[in-house]
């Protein structure tokens, strides 16, 4: 999974967690360019994080759980989690 694919997975998952609402353009740009984004800044509640994890699993068959995310602080850590598991799905 290359950088673009990882970011695409995360971008799509953020879209799912936002329930199809248009993403803030600045956030969309930051995700696409890989800038550091704090998870708290996404403003997701527990339901949104469930949708995020479901979307990641549907795209990658990797089972990212909300309990995994609780230990993370930035989107970059989720990217790392995905990269580390490439090829193991």
């Amino acid at each position: 999974m290359d950088e673009d694919h990882v970011r695409s997975v995360i971008f799509n998952a953020i879209g799912a967690a936002s329930f199809g609402a248009p993403l803030d353009p600045a956030l969309a740009d930051a995700v696409r360019s890989g800038r550091k984004i704090k998870l708290d800044d996404l403003g997701f509640d527990s339901l949104a994080w469930m949708e995020f994890c479901i979307a990641v699993e549907l795209q990658t068959r990797l089972e990212l759980l909300t309990s995994d995310i609780e230990a993370m602080a930035t989107l970059g850590e989720i990217e790392d989690w995905l990269r580390e598991r490439v090829g193991h799905a």
Partner: protein
Amino acid sequence: MRDFAQKARECSTENAWNRLHIDLENVLAPQELAQLARYEQSAGPFIRTAKWLDKLRRLSPDVFDAPRCFQAEPLHANLTLYRGAPYARNRRLLFTFAGNAGRVMLPMPVFLQLFDPLAWDVLVVCKQRGQSYCDAALQDIAPAAAGLLDLAEYRSVACLGTSSGGFPAIVAALRIGAAVGVSVGGSPPPADRFAFPAGLGGSGSTRLVYVHGADFERDGVSAAILARHAPGEILAVPGVARHNVLAALIAEGTIGALLDSIGISGGG
């Protein structure tokens, strides 16, 4: 219940279970959830479902102990009527507009449990994924609903919307002459995609209320913007520092007081 058993067999990961539970939460009436809980106890154990049911029980024990009887009736791709007791007189219609998550800030059975089916029917507008309340079809949903239901059979109509459903609830309340229109945590629509109808604030007979958590600044700003378009009362709920005001109040056991204060008393 056969549908549930079939879908449960297909769930092989925690996320798949979450998908199933979220989808159920968004549509089940209270007595259907209570029935599912009985099924889980008799045909289970479905461990993850039992945990999910426990979470809902903590939120609203009455859903399981004395579930309200509403019958779901799809009217349209975006409209579901949860019909109470059709023989009761002096009934009211609660016309609700769900937020982006497809719910009125609460799981549907928990929300419906707040209302007496002898006094209320509850109509839910729910966007399909990717739809916007700015789409033409949804901007006209209030007149469409008025064409599908005989609003005159109701003693009164109240409109309530949450999050992205807040402003459409206000607009609908004014368009159909509802007694009250309530936006909870509502946000203004993008100006380039939605124009507030001219003279929107002109009706003096519809009470408008904008509810938000007093300690959640973003929603306070949004309420003020909405109230400039359609003047009404701004109700900042003390001690709530989150967007989901209804979840905060149901956890505190004070949601009934809020409903009473905005003219949507659960008992009618």
